[in-house]
């Protein structure tokens, strides 16, 4: 969130100074673990209308941001296929019910027959009789984008105080171990780092796995509807796939558990037999900052803006929330 907002502010001619508790590579951020899905329709499975509307806005804004960063290679507009095994069709129907409840027009979520699914060349027609297509959804290579944003900001001369833990962000003030720093605006995008000032914030653990599967050639994001597991698959270059994500009520950031790995990998194998010989490239764990309503919060108080609670939707919401923050500042 912080990097996207900093970039947008910088583009608008503001002088931006960043305070970052970690190093500039972003490894400590929840975003570093994210799959970078821009999937507002698929998120309706468990998210509210506000997230959907902000997500649609972000879907419009991301191409502009990507263009300004000259990072078109990190943006992919392949859409999403939502599938369920024959015995779990009720879960696909439930998702369709959610889409209908939110009055999503059928052209945004066409149901593909087995033949149409076969025509996607994803190989999913081997095990699935149908799929719900969400053709307008996209994804971003999240980790790489953090690097591009870092380089872009540094190239533009942004001051970046890394490894600088911020104790408090107040009205026009940032307080670190080095002292109190005064600014025209102080913007708090610390995520879980802001817990001391936003007590209702909590961490929700998410675990992801990256695999290399040369025998699989899926060019869309895939969501598997299953009674026990929530699985998404995001394609990356060279037959690499990112799969996630667990959602566990704890702020424990330790390595992925055996149970989570088993669940994610079993669900993965059930998608396509070619995953049997895939290689596990890496696993990652992060904690998402969540508020009790699971909605993002942008609060302005004089020369202070707090943006938090992006939960599972960091990349989906960041541009729309940055736009809202920018409007606050410019309208002041």
């Amino acid at each position: 969130m912080g990097r996207v907002l900093a970039w947008q502010l910088q583009q608008q001619g503001f002088q931006v100074i960043l305070y970052d508790q970690a190093s500039t590579d972003g490894e400590a951020a929840a975003a570093f673990v994210a799959a970078g899905m821009l999937a507002p329709y698929a998120e309706l499975e468990s998210a509210e209308s506000d997230v959907f509307q902000l997500g649609l806005r972000s879907l419009e804004l991301w191409p502009q941001i990507i263009h300004s960063l000259k990072a078109q290679h990190l943006f992919h507009a392949g859409g999403t296929l939502v599938v369920a095994h024959p015995q779990d069709q009720a879960y696909l129907q439930r998702f369709q019910q959610q889409l209908q409840y939110h009055q999503i027009a059928p052209e945004h979520s066409p149901l593909l027959s087995k033949q149409q699914l076969a025509a996607t060349n994803s190989g999913l027609a081997e095990r699935f009789d149908m799929a719900l297509s969400l053709p307008t959804e996209s994804w971003i290579y999240a980790r790489e984008l953090l690097g591009v944003l870092q380089q872009g900001l540094l190239d533009q001369g942004v001051q970046w105080h890394h490894n600088c833990a911020v104790a408090k962000v107040n009205n026009g003030q940032i307080i670190s171990a080095a002292g109190v720093h005064h600014f025209d605006w102080a913007i708090d995008c610390r995520g879980l780092g802001a817990q001391a000032q936003i007590p209702q914030l909590r961490g929700v653990r998410g675990e992801v796995i990256e695999v290399h599967a040369p025998e699989v050639d899926i060019k869309q994001m895939v969501r598997l509807m299953h009674p026990h597991y929530r699985l998404y698959l995001v394609p990356r270059d060279n037959h690499h796939y990112l799969l996630g994500a667990t959602q566990i009520e704890t702020d424990d950031q330790s390595n992925i558990s055996v149970r989570s790995a088993l669940e994610l990998l079993s669900a993965l194998y059930s998608l396509h037999p070619g995953f049997a010989e895939a290689r596990i490239v890496r696993t990652a764990t992060g904690c998402r900052p969540a508020l009790p309503d699971h909605l993002p919060s942008v609060v302005t108080d004089n020369q202070l803006i707090r943006i938090n609670g992006l939960f599972r939707h960091g990349f989906l919401l960041a541009p729309a929330l940055a736009e809202a923050a920018l409007a606050q500042i410019q309208g002041h």
Binding site: E48, R94, E249
Partner: protein, 265 residues
């Protein structure tokens, strides 16, 4: 008002705390359901940690804010030992001897393992727990659980999360008739408010459900719908439901009906 494990409660609906779109909606939906008892799962949150430093504290705090009776459960446990350990952790965390005992025997259907369930029940009752066993509708298993000291039984309506309703009403009715002194709660498989009403109409003391409310597109309204359904079902049971009959019986006496109406019909 009725009594559940020595505690006075109003509602005959027990509700789960999982699968909601957000904790805020969970709180609102549970309030709307008027439930007095809320179940909570420990298993995933506490992996690898001791009770006193377990993760999920903030989520549990949101549950405590509801000021309801908390019924911790052992969801996700696959053997008696795991379930007993989780029950101990639950007692420590929530300061209650109540435990909804789930020991899963089949990973896909989440069907309870009756043998491990009975084993864990005996052990936990000997340690002073009030065990609410999630069991199948098998009469012999239920009798063994009662012999082990259970005052409450929670037979399934259908497998967890299926929403199929009461798939074996014969077995459930039989349990009610045979175990007259036991508190019987249909747990799992309830999909529609009418399923809940059906269980109460049979004389079941209560129902426990989660997915039907949590995964509804509008969980708060669905919570209200279930509150109304359990009230209707209980009231109907108390009022006495007319026995079904194979022969028609007019609600208006035929004696006073003009004869030309009979001719034209």
């Amino acid at each position: 008002m009725w009594t559940l494990a020595d505690k006075p409660v109003n509602s005959r609906l027990l509700i789960g705390s999982a699968l909601y779109p957000s904790p805020h909606i969970m709180q609102e939906a549970i309030r709307a359901s008027q439930a007095d008892v809320v179940t909570v799962s420990l298993r995933r949150q506490t992996a690898f940690q001791q009770a006193e430093q377990a993760g999920g504290q903030q989520f549990w705090q949101l549950l405590r804010e509801l000021e309801l009776n908390i019924l911790p459960n052992t969801a996700g446990c696959h053997n008696a030992k795991e379930a007993i350990t989780t029950a101990h952790m639950a007692r420590e965390l929530f300061n209650t001897n109540w435990i909804k005992l789930e020991v899963i025997g089949d990973e896909y259907s989440l069907q309870p393992d009756p043998f491990a369930l009975l084993e864990a029940t005996k052990e936990l009752i000997s340690q002073g727990f009030e065990v609410f066993p999630y069991c199948t509708d098998d009469l012999v298993l239920c009798e063994k659980l009662v012999e082990a000291g259970c005052r409450i039984l929670m037979p399934w309506g259908a497998p967890i999360g299926t929403g199929k309703g009461l798939i074996n009403p014969y077995a459930l009715r039989n349990l009610r008739q045979r175990l007259t002194d036991i508190t019987l709660i249909v747990d799992a498989g309830i999909g529609a408010p009418s399923h809940a009403a059906q269980a109460l109409e049979m004389g079941y003391d209560a129902v426990l459900l989660n997915t039907a409310v949590a995964k509804s597109p509008d969980p708060i309204s669905m919570g209200k719908a279930f509150a109304a359904a359990v009230d209707a079902g209980r009231l109907a049971y108390q009022a006495g439901i007319m026995p079904a009959s194979d022969t028609a019986s007019p609600s208006t006496p035929t004696l006073g009906t003009p004869f030309w109406h009979q001719q034209s019909s």
